[in-house]
């Protein structure tokens, strides 16, 4: 390793240690009994399942919304685009509770709830509310990463594809998407992680009804509120382990794919000095 590389490992190790330290601090805080108790508790299991389901549903809709929108924004200029993009960034800044309050007001009885209810669609205080809240939080993350990714793709590929007669849809799906895949995926993972950990907006829109709209982060919050830090921490350890395993397995599954080596001739980086 070159000197620069050694320098670069300092922040890496530093932050890695902090993360490990935080996890260790959390683990030492709970007794094994508490941990075991939470793991096998049907409520924890329900919340875990509910979290996974809602976050997957939310990611599906966030992807359907964010990726096409990002594709459009990366490729078109129109008056007011900057304004529009900034507007779409706003949910990123919104404190989750406020996002939840806003969604509650928008989809609640006051504004659109009545109409939605007449269409047989109850969003507020229902599991769909959790999905909606998480979608709201995840979409801008997906959108922003995907937009940057699409904008970074060399347009020559698209032009080549066009002269070969591919349709715009084929160009999008078979050329630009794979070329932008790495950053798009990384955005999706970030968004997914956010939905898994999200509780403010979900809490407000869906409520915290046990065995109905309780996600793991809400379970954590409920336990913190009742002062049962141990159980709260165990619940969050369950959440983190599940997420960790999922992330690790997708990573390992993706590993041998040579798409990671899009542009390179060598398989590993040389060390300059």
């Amino acid at each position: 390793m070159s000197r620069l590389d050694r320098l670069l490992t300092i922040p890496l190790v530093l932050f890695g240690l902090v993360v490990a330290g935080v996890l260790a601090a959390l683990v030492t805080e709970v007794t094994p009994a508490e941990l075991l108790g939470s793991i096998v508790h049907p409520e924890t299991l329900y919340a875990l399942r509910f979290s996974l389901l809602t976050s997957c549903a939310a990611m599906a809709s966030a992807t359907m919304l964010g990726v096409p929108a990002a594709y459009f924004l990366a490729r078109h200029d129109f008056p007011g685009k900057g304004f529009m993009e900034t507007l779409l960034d706003v949910p990123l800044v919104m404190p989750p509770l406020i996002a939840g309050v806003g969604l509650l007001f928008l989809f609640g009885q006051g504004m659109m709830g009545g109409h939605l209810a007449r269409m047989g669609f109850y969003l507020v205080l229902s599991p769909w509310g959790a999905v909606a809240a998480q979608t709201f939080v995840a979409t801008p993350i997906v959108l922003r990463s995907a937009q940057a990714a699409f904008a970074s793709v060399d347009r020559g590929y698209e032009e080549a594809a066009a002269t070969l007669g591919l349709s715009s849809l084929q160009i999008m799906i078979r050329v630009n998407l794979p070329l932008a895949a790495r950053s798009v995926l990384s955005g999706l993972v970030m968004a997914w992680a956010r939905t898994m950990g999200e509780f403010g907006a979900t809490l407000m829109v869906a409520g915290a009804t046990r065995f109905r709209t309780e996600t793991l982060p809400i379970a954590v919050y409920l336990n913190i509120s009742s002062g049962e830090t141990g159980i709260a921490v165990s619940c969050s350890l369950v959440l983190l382990s599940a997420a960790f395993l999922l992330l690790l397995s997708t990573r390992l599954l993706n590993k041998p794919q040579p798409e990671n080596h899009l542009h390179q001739r060598r398989s590993s980086w040389p060390n300059w000095n």
Partner: protein, 228 residues
């Protein structure tokens, strides 16, 4: 001397702000107060080992600290009693507690673990004998009483069991009525002097100030009832 540091339930913010102002004017003693969820504050207190006085919305949390031996002195301040609050639009449909059991009424309740009033509500349900019927109408449980209040105000639910203080503060948007006092044990807002306090005398003075009749009167303005 040093400022005092107080943990205070977020629901008590308005009266406590007012009282601490008065206290500062009277004694020149500055109190740094941190509002928040009482459960969270216990966690923080355990981790930091700092603080002079704790004023949660329910004696339940003081009891937790007492069990851990962290409390040197405690004093009940005011009562936190439950009421049934009804959205103005549904006021015709819900006039008594029994109406909560009527089919088609949407009821919201607090989470029995996370929220003091959630536990109280459980007692009420048990003692009223309408538990099953009301639970069938219950569409949501909430993590905080403010969340539940918001749902009632916004009409997401028709009615719910909230604190009198919250009902009182939202009189313009909802109506409320009391519940048979024999069905529940009221929560008591309790001031506790913490063992970690470096100036326990000053802390105790503050606790006594908070429990004084003048203070209780201020609490009363915000819908809290005095401890008998």
């Amino acid at each position: 001397a040093q400022d005092l540091f107080m943990y205070c339930g977020a629901g008590l913010r308005q009266p406590v702000d007012e009282l601490l102002n008065t206290y500062f004017q009277q004694t020149g003693k500055k109190v740094n107060v941190e509002f928040g969820g009482s459960g969270q504050q216990i966690t923080r207190f355990k981790a930091t080992g700092q603080g002079d006085i704790f004023l949660p919305g329910s004696h339940f949390y003081v009891d937790q600290l007492k069990e851990m031996g962290q409390v040197t002195f405690s004093l009940p301040v005011v009562l936190h009693i439950p009421v049934v609050a009804v959205n103005k639009g549904s006021a015709e449909k819900v006039k008594t507690f029994a109406d909560l059991a009527k089919p088609g009424i949407r009821v919201g309740l607090g989470d029995p673990k996370a929220m003091a009033l959630g536990r109280t509500a459980e007692d009420i349900l048990d003692n009223s004998g309408l538990r099953e019927a009301v639970l069938k109408n219950t569409v949501v449980r909430t993590a905080t009483v403010k969340q539940l209040t918001l749902y009632i105000v916004k009409g997401e639910v028709d009615a719910g069991i909230i604190a009198r203080a919250d009902g009182c503060q939202n009189q313009d948007k909802l109506v409320y009525f009391g519940v048979d006092p024999s069905w529940y044990k009221p929560d008591i807002v309790t001031a506790a002097v913490l063992k970690t306090s470096p100036q326990p005398e000053e802390a105790r003075k503050l606790a006594e100030f908070l429990g004084s009749p003048a203070s209780v009167e201020v609490f009363g303005k915000y819908g809290f009832l005095p401890v008998k």
